[in-house]
Symmetry: C2
Subunit: 508 residues, 2 copies
């Protein structure tokens, strides 16, 4: 007989669902701002967002919320106080407790000061990048780093202040664990890259040139229509930067962007954002409002987007299925380009200066560089004034290229100006988790490639839903990785995947 | 030297602005629901709307809000307590007090019961209309009328319970005042209609037939682009029923709908909704949060939409300007139709069974019928069971046509099922106020027709802004009407306008 859920749990679930509902409204405000809002709406929109954000903060730190939570758990120790919870409910309570502990540890005065600082810093960063003048941004970055160290001290850590920051995005990781993964990964990737660079450059000229915007938009919709996503629960629009946002598992929205000089960016963006979206849609609606209907972490979220963008979206079987549609759209440009040539072109490896849209081999090297630099900045081993040189040296070491300007060097990402230290590693970890999961998936579905080549994609989403999405935050990333594959999480699956794929493509 | 605004006023303004900001978010939720929301989003959307609505209700009835208000005014008597307010600030305080008095007079239990009743009733009404079965809806309507009488008693009234309801939509009107206007109006309109019916039927065949949806959408945008509206502050989309919503004077959104068998509905909808939108955009942003940045009443709002839809949008000068664009869009259908023939066709008078999209001569007769019936229902002079017969008799008397079914008779409007008694008169009053204002406008701009014929429309909006929009709720409808024209508000300007226009069109 099923046990009755304790009332205290149901009470907290209800309050938490209200907070989630406010959050979903906030998501709509952001979505609208990036898609359809008339430009003049920006000032009232800022007011609306500030109002809801403070409303949410007030609710999460309210006496009512704390009181309901403390009936279930002592947040500071994580000790569950109440009997009769199921295993899943216990996991939910544990996550509620952790989140409360973290979000209530920073004083409001600190949060407000940091928010003002980063708001000003991101404006300065923008000007500094436009004018290629690192010195304009350096004082802001120093202040952000001071406050970031202060933040880490408030959160607390055992080993390295960076750990306190990283765990905000990927709770089960520490800088030591990440280093243990990134060190062999860097070695493998630089080695693979060196071998590739000995080979002739792949011809991908046919991917460039002028591609009509309207046709690109239609192609994006056609691609989405063939993905296993219910159109009643989703939509696709355009925005300056692609993103995905889920108001609820039944209302998920993605955007893409159209570049006039190439069509692959749009296609890969739709696949990437659809991957994020499928994760949100796969969370159990009956748990809405609890951590059991929330994503595990940014890394796992990224694993789902990279799964569809790279493991599927840059695979040969996928293009056996979808290439004819693309050829039909651009007959003059691609009509005579055979599939294998196209496949090699979209997987061409080119060390570049910019992380965004880097190929699969060099992508993680961009992230490793940032990880090494930001851990040194946070610990104080690297001074802000030395950042541009450090960046250039690392680029040379890892990717063999060197930026001529700071704008395409250490000023290229917005993250630090927003105070988001500890965020970057999740971009690489996402790829690694994806490959790790994929190793189990491809064992279970040995003929996955044949099915995908026929356009059958639903079984993939089903597998992800059963093995990953449906658990919400019940397991942390490492537990989930172990549970799905039987193996502890590491860089190995990703390295094997890359080696096998690029050996074929580059005939290494 | 300008006086300093009392702090108590600024405090209430700030709280009120917060409530307005929540309301603007609520408006976005509604807009999104009707335009872009994936259909599956409806259940979370209902939760979002219910949450924000109750949040707004709580704030408006909070001790804080009442406390701030009562420093300025005694809401029950309307007596202003504080010195040093400007004339405009006094008007704002008076309106805040009236709104508080009204919204706090209904007990929450009553509001909740009425809300449940109307939610069920509107579903029943929909089925009853689909199945043409008035009896399915009658019991709900009886209950709504019982509660509506109760509501009127709570609000209080001097003469007729209907007055307490009407004043929720048009504060300065009573049923006696409306009757004093509607009685001569009905006489004039039925007389004019009788004379028109003696004349040959106007040929408008070329307005009907298949009109491509995409071209219609483009035409709607082209029309909007030529209106004096800043595109940075507005946008146009499609929805099942046209509407307009302003999140703020700088973020105003309108929708239209495309019918496949005619294009004029789209055009008139864009003009109508743009009229509403220009009103909202013309409210003074510096007063945002106060009644000085709110529309006077539903009647005055409707006067602005009907101004652009009918006084301008069905005028010969406007079509001298815009007809070539329409001919260019539909050359096969309209290329050979001369302007005067087109102008007569879009102004053809045809008594029909349905209020929506009725011509200018019969439109108000539809409203007068509803006013007479709903005052009798509220007073109890008309029983619910006798409503279908009463409707048929009134239609025959006023319009000379009789519905064969109740679906196209007394079941055609949703309003009563939502408990909106007292709303209908504002549809007619809007036309009357528009014509009343227009009499002053056309005296001031004697060459308005020549300017409009050249596509010059900005001076019209400017005139409306200066004379109407910029005051917000500083004056009530009657005061505004008197202020703008020097004449007390009546039906006379509208009757003169119609007689002059239709004498020419029908050569009476």
């Amino acid at each position: 007989m099923a046990k009755k859920t304790p009332q205290a749990y149901l009470d907290l679930k209800e309050t938490s669902a209200t907070i989630h509902t406010y959050n979903s409204i906030l998501s709509l405000l952001h979505w609208d701002q990036e898609t359809f809002m008339p430009p003049g709406g920006i000032i009232p929109r800022s007011e609306q967002i500030a109002l809801l954000s403070s409303q949410i903060h007030d609710m999460k730190t309210s006496r009512k919320y704390r009181g309901q939570l403390e009936k279930l758990i002592t947040p500071s120790t994580g000790k569950i106080k109440i009997k009769g919870l199921s295993i899943r409910e216990k996991a939910a309570v544990r996550e509620w407790g952790k989140e409360f502990q973290r979000s209530s540890s920073l004083p409001s005065s600190f949060v407000n000061k940091f928010s003002k600082l980063t708001s000003e810093a991101s404006q300065r960063w923008q000007i500094a990048r436009e004018e290629n003048n690192f010195k304009l941004f350096a004082p802001s970055l120093s202040k952000i780093l001071d406050m970031t160290r202060e933040k880490a001290a408030i959160y607390g850590y055992d080993d390295h202040p960076y750990d306190a920051l990283l765990s905000g995005y990927e709770p089960c990781m520490t800088s030591a664990k990440v280093r243990k993964i990134f060190t062999p990964l860097a070695k493998e990737l630089t080695h693979l890259l060196a071998r590739i660079r000995e080979k002739p450059v792949i011809n991908d000229r046919f991917l460039r040139g002028a591609f009509d915007g309207k046709k690109q938009t239609e192609l994006g919709h056609a691609l989405l229509a063939k993905l296993p996503i219910d159109p009643a629960y989703s939509r696709l629009d355009l925005s300056a930067h692609p993103f995905s946002v889920a108001l609820h598992p039944h209302d998920s929205r993605i955007t893409t962007r159209i570049l006039s000089d190439g069509f692959m960016s749009n296609i890969l963006s739709v696949l990437h954002e659809a991957g994020h979206s499928m994760y949100e849609m796969g969370l159990p609606t009956e748990e809405w409002g609890t951590p059991l209907a929330e994503a595990v972490s940014l890394s796992i979220h990224e694993s789902q987007s990279r799964w569809w963008e790279t493991l599927i979206g840059r695979s040969l079987p996928y293009w056996k299925h979808f290439y004819p549609e693309v050829q039909k759209t651009y007959p003059a440009k691609l009509g005579k380009v055979p599939l294998d040539k196209f496949y090699r072109a979209i997987n061409k490896v080119t060390p570049s200066l910019i992380r965004v849209e880097a190929d699969e081999v060099t992508y993680c090297l961009h992230v490793i560089l940032r990880f090494e630099i930001e851990t040194a900045l946070v610990s104080g081993d690297l001074q802000v004034q030395d950042l541009p040189d450090a960046w250039r040296a690392k680029m040379k070491e890892l990717l063999g290229v060197e930026p001529k300007t700071d704008s395409e060097g250490c000023l290229q990402d917005i993250h630090w100006s927003l105070g988001d230290f500890g965020y970057f590693p999740t971009y690489a970890l996402g790829n690694l988790f994806a490959a790790h999961f994929f190793s189990a998936f491809s064992k279970e579905h040995r003929n996955w490639d044949k099915r995908v080549a026929k356009g059958d994609l639903g079984f993939i989403r089903e597998w992800l839903k059963v093995n990953i999405h449906s658990f919400g935050k019940q397991y942390n990333s490492e537990q989930l990785a172990k549970r799905v594959t039987g193996e502890p999480f590491s860089e190995k699956a990703y390295c094997s995947y890359l080696k096998k794929k690029y050996q074929e493509i580059y005939e290494l």
